[in-house]
């Protein structure tokens, strides 16, 4: 029997890797993948709690998180396409037109 905390530690590590990718990378597509990593870390914590607290609500939440992630990926990638058409770059440093 694997303890709940080992799953939570794995989830924390995954989340931190996602945050690091978000902060360190300059390619918007990789930044986007880091967001997916963070969402997956949250999903893992949900499923682990659902298993160890004998409740199915965590799995339902994961279902909703996944549908939100799908919608977010579709719209986000469309935004990246639109940005690439106007600026011809996916480097986050060069997309500073809205910066104060």
């Amino acid at each position: 029997m694997i303890s709940l905390s080992s799953y939570l530690i794995l989830s924390a590590i995954l989340f931190t890797v996602g945050v690091l990718g978000f902060m360190l990378r300059r390619n918007i597509i990789v930044i986007f993948m880091s967001i997916e990593l963070m969402l997956n870390a949250a999903n893992l914590a949900f499923v682990a709690f659902s298993r160890y607290l004998n409740s199915m609500d965590g799995q339902i939440f994961v279902f909703f998180v996944m549908s939100v992630a799908a919608a977010e990926a579709a719209v986000g990638l469309a935004i990246i396409m639109a940005v690439y058409r106007t600026k011809a770059t996916v480097n986050a440093d060069e997309l500073n037109i809205m910066k104060w």
Partner: protein, 170 residues
């Protein structure tokens, strides 16, 4: 015993491929590693007695979302971005430092909060008897009916938004 070994293997694969996702220069390689990460997470969901979520993970994440990512990467010409070298050295150091602080903070929360709660109505034996998918479906169409319907509206909005954004001229 087998369970623990499987968990360790899957956890190590997940963490290593997740790190490879963020250190790869080539976005296609990042996407491929992310697919491996998602597959091993699906395996971990199976260990957690959640076969429905595991299948959805493979179908929706590793299937639909990652195919979308790969399509967009192929549509964009990223040759010049690959050679891009970041000039912000201090940002890298600070980022790694803050990441470690974040990990320590999350770990401290796990230590301080009692990870026990009142047990729910679905012990593993009952779920196994009823079938995981059936239990999830019953909850989705009874207790969580309104969120479920709102999800369909959300997906419709996402479809329309993606089409409008991707069109050259409206």
């Amino acid at each position: 015993m087998v369970e623990t070994a499987l968990f360790i293997v899957l956890a190590v694969v997940t963490v290593i491929t997740a790190i490879l996702v963020i250190v790869q220069r080539n976005p296609v390689a990042s996407a491929i590693y992310l697919i491996i990460t998602l597959f091993s997470l699906a395996g971990i969901y199976l260990l957690l007695n959640a076969p429905f979520i595991a299948v959805i993970q493979v179908l929706v994440y590793a299937g639909a979302i990652m195919v979308l990512f790969l399509f967009v990467i192929m549509l964009l010409n990223l040759e010049k971005e690959k050679r891009l070298i970041t000039r912000h050295r201090r940002q890298k150091v600070l980022g790694v430092f803050l990441g470690i602080i974040l990990l320590v903070l999350i770990g401290m929360i796990f230590n301080s909060v009692l990870l026990e709660g009142s047990k729910g109505k679905f012990p593993p034996e009952k779920v196994a008897a009823l079938g995981n998918t059936e239990v999830v479906a019953r909850l989705l169409f009874t207790d969580y009916l309104l969120p479920f319907e709102i999800t369909s509206v959300l997906l419709l909005v996402a479809i329309i938004g993606a089409i409008v954004l991707a069109k050259r001229q409206i």
